[in-house]
């Protein structure tokens, strides 16, 4: 009888510890939902459609528009436009651009809009891929895309599927 009691006690202890730990984890997740941890992944037309407020942190994905790339006098600040063909957004970034950064190529940047509607990027992510086409940065509807570079990239991306 005593053995049974101890066994129950032990199980109770283990279970309560596990429950406490899981509850802590859930709490953590709930907290994170309200914080900076969660960022939306948007393309320029989403940004326009949702009228994202200035200062809200999000990830911007799309293609670097051909002919939009320029470097400022200081040699460190870059301006370029990210497009999904339906809409275009100006981006400003200070830092070293990743190796795969190229006009007409897919890019993912992280940051927030300033009050002038320019996306101030804190990071620019390079995507690397066995076939050198970053999926997920392509415009959602490749058909409506008329951008020549984007079209070529989209063809390359979708031909493999």
């Amino acid at each position: 009888m005593a053995g049974l009691k101890t066994r129950k006690k032990q199980r109770l202890l283990v279970v309560s510890l596990a429950v406490a730990s899981l509850m802590g984890a859930t709490l953590l997740i709930l907290l994170a939902l309200g914080g900076d941890s969660l960022s939306l992944f948007l393309q320029p037309s989403d940004v326009k459609a949702k009228q994202v407020a200035a200062g809200q942190h999000f990830r911007l994905g799309g293609l670097v528009e051909t002919g939009s790339f320029a470097r400022a006098e200081d040699g460190l600040t870059y301006h370029f436009s990210v497009t999904d063909c339906a809409a275009t957004l100006s981006v400003e970034f200070k830092g070293l651009l990743p190796d795969l950064f190229r006009e007409g190529q897919g890019v993912v940047t992280e940051g927030a809009l300033n009050t002038d509607g320019v996306f101030i990027a804190s990071t620019v992510l390079a995507k690397h891929d066995e076939n050198y086409v970053p999926p997920g940065t392509m415009p959602k509807s490749a058909d409506q895309c008329v951008h020549p570079d984007a079209q070529a990239a989209a063809d390359a991306a979708y031909s493999g599927r």
Binding site: R7, L22, L28, A32, S37, L38, E130, Y132, P135
Partner: protein, 660 residues
């Protein structure tokens, strides 16, 4: 010719695996020893066929046989030999073939080393392992055949992604795969134990080395990957909480939990049901990782080439493996004999605490990784879960784990005394508190998390030392301490070294995250920039030519404390096949930290944009990982694990008793 031979070998391997996955079960059910023994022959046959297929693909890569699609898309004649060979597993199809090779190798090892295991149990294990081989072979043959031909054959191949042409990354995938696949053995043992209806200490004795081996390889694979990211990607970071990184981290956490809980099964015959579950979960997480990486369902910076058909196949396979084993668990686990008892304060309890925190952490990482998928599935748009979430989770869940880790090894099995353990670790507590306080004071406050992390690291390192000191009675009987010191077993050294390794990693993470100095600027030749007290003088750039790339190499002379320390030579490479830029950071490790320079692009008038860092104690990350690996290997090499397997008839009867 070699291609067809490889393809044919794969088909033969599938047939052998199908036989091996079914017949031994029939044999076990009927008690037919001849059918059961077929399992052993089957795994050897599978292994031979896998070697044959893998050699065929390697041969195609080495000889640059571009009539094979896989070689044409991933190789190039001018590529150095190392990368021709590593190109075999550097692509989707080849990596799966490598996976199968390891899967069959481990199956054959279990058969070879496991002749002392009861035949019925061994045949079940090998049959489950063969079933996994069937799944992967079907995946290869139906969706990702590496031996498809290309007609007409191109004259030259596309080349391997230059980012992957790196010694660090050449061995990163195979290490991870050895880890993932090592967990398949734990899985097969767990499922076999459920089928046989009994878990014995002997079972744990078998599972633990495999879990340990898998964990060692996962540790190495993850460390190599983060090291590669650190020096090759040039953004100074080493871990991004990217889905693909998490995919390797979750099995690591589960394997760490498993190798600890298996100790409890082995020594105390307790936590049996939980350990079985953990073995299933650990391998499921490995499969899930493969699914995440190969299907492209989550938006990752790694973004491997993806294909929905492959994703669906892996998802189905994942469903069968996880669903099937979980259903079996739900059905059979309650029927197993109850586990041994232990007190609230005991080594067992400490290991339970370890398991709870490790598995909760794995669960939180899983939620964070899959959350974007659910959000997208419910049409709420695309989101990403960023590093702050995971960092917070790590801080909250790992802090109590590390506190417990300092005390756990000091507690006795079954019923320990807190007071005794506490007496031993009081100095560690004092040192840790002092260290944390000094850090806050020296940096004029504001670094609460850093102080906690630093204090925890010191606490862990000090308590590992005190544990060894108390084991050899350094204070009570110093005269005989050396004799006791020499008697410490390899398993104990392994534990201490691995735990200390965790402390060293924590130290590196805390210090490098908090005190890295970074300077982004444009420099002309002759300019000097001072970063964290080190003077970086830009000497200019020079063109460099490699075997399959050209580069711009920058030269930075670094002076500190009045003397010239080194010249850093970061490069900006342009590979020719395919045309692509890569960054090679210039790194010079000092004991205090790493000097790190990256060169950007020409900014006109001879100026270049550069990024300079001083990263204090960052080498501790890789040193700590190495300590963990050596600790694991020491523990694996312990004499008791190698020859301690019971051979007596009594014990063999004990393990088969449940099935009879």
């Amino acid at each position: 010719m070699a291609g067809e031979l490889g393809h044919f070998s794969l088909i033969l391997a599938l047939i052998f695996a199908l036989i091996g996955a079914t017949v031994p079960h029939i044999g076990a059910a009927r008690g037919d020893a001849r059918l059961m023994a077929l399992g052993d022959r089957s795994v050897f046959a599978q292994f031979l066929m896998a070697i044959s297929a893998f050699s065929a693909l390697t041969y195609a890569f080495i000889t640059s046989d571009f009539s094979v699609v896989n070689v044409a898309t991933n190789s190039h004649t001018l590529k150095p030999m190392l990368y021709k060979v590593s190109g075999v597993w550097g692509n989707h199809e080849g990596s799966l073939l490598f996976w199968v090779l390891i899967l069959t190798l481990f199956g054959a090892l279990v058969s070879w080393r496991g002749q002392k295991l009861p035949l019925q149990f061994r045949s079940r294990v090998l049959a489950v392992q063969s079933l996994l081989v069937v799944g992967f072979l079907m995946f290869i043959l139906f969706t990702s055949n590496p031996f498809l031909r290309l007609d007409p054959a191109p004259l030259e191949g596309n080349g391997l992604n230059p980012l992957l042409q790196d010694p660090g990354l050449a061995f990163h995938p195979p290490m991870l795969y050895l880890g993932y696949v090592g967990l398949s053995i734990a899985f097969s043992f767990a499922v076999a134990a459920l089928l046989e209806g009994e878990v014995t200490p002997l079972w744990a004795r078998w599972v633990r080395p495999w879990a340990l081996l898998a964990w060692v390889f996962l540790t190495g694979g993850i460390a190599l990957g983060s090291w590669w990211a650190y020096y090759e990607l040039g953004w100074g970071g080493w871990w991004f909480w990217d889905p693909v990184e998490n995919a390797s981290f979750m099995p690591w956490l589960a394997a760490a939990a498993l190798l600890h809980s298996a100790i409890v099964v082995e020594k105390r015959d307790a936590l049996k049901s939980w350990t079985i579950l953990l073995a299933i979960v650990a391998f499921s997480l490995s499969l899930l990782g493969t699914f995440l990486v190969r299907s492209g369902v989550v938006n990752s910076v790694h973004a491997f080439a993806t294909d929905p058909a492959r994703g669906i196949f892996i998802l189905a396979f994942l469903g069968i493996v996880v669903g099937g084993s979980m259903a079996l668990y739900a059905w059979r686990a309650p029927k197993m004999a109850p586990s041994g008892l232990f007190g609230v304060v005991s080594r067992e309890s400490a290991l339970v605490v370890n398991n709870i925190f490790l598995s909760t952490f794995a669960a939180v990482v899983l939620v964070g990784t899959l959350y974007p998928l659910f959000v997208e599935a419910f049409g709420a748009g695309q989101i990403t879960v960023g590093p702050p979430f995971f960092e917070y989770a790590a801080a909250v869940l790992m802090s109590p784990l590390i506190v417990a880790l300092g005390v756990g090894p000091l507690l006795a099995w079954k019923r320990g005394k807190v007071s005794r353990a506490f007496q031993i670790v009081v100095p560690a507590l004092v040192v840790a508190l002092v260290a944390g306080t000094v850090l806050v004071w020296r940096t004029s406050g504001g670094y609460v998390m850093t102080a906690i992390g630093f204090g925890l690291a010191i606490w862990l390192l000090a308590s590992v030392f005190l544990e060894i000191a108390s084991r050899i009675k350094l204070w009570q009987a110093p005269g005989k301490a050396w004799a006791r010191f020499a008697k410490i077993t390899r398993a104990q050294w392994g534990m201490s070294l691995a735990h200390a390794g965790l402390g060293v990693i924590l130290l590196g993470v805390t210090i490098s995250e908090a005190f890295t100095t970074e300077d982004l600027r444009v420099m002309a030749p002759g300019d000097t920039a001072t970063v964290a007290g080190y003077d970086f003088t830009f000497e200019g750039v020079a063109p460099v030519a490699g075997p399959n790339f050209t580069a711009v190499r920058g030269f930075f002379t670094v002076r500190g404390g009045g003397e010239t320390l080194t010249t850093l030579t970061p490069e900006d490479r342009v590979y020719t096949n395919p045309v692509m830029n890569t960054t090679e950071a210039g790194i010079y490790p000092l004991i205090a930290g790493d000097l790190y320079a990256v060169i950007g692009e020409a900014a006109g008038a001879g100026r270049w944009s550069v990024r300079l860092y001083f990263k204090p104690m960052i080498s501790a990350l890789w040193l700590g990982a190495l300590m963990m690996m050596i600790g694991g290997i020491l523990s694996l090499s312990d004499r008791r694990l190698r020859i301690g397997l019971p051979t007596g008839k009594k014990k063999v009867q004990a393990i088969t008793r449940g099935a009879a």
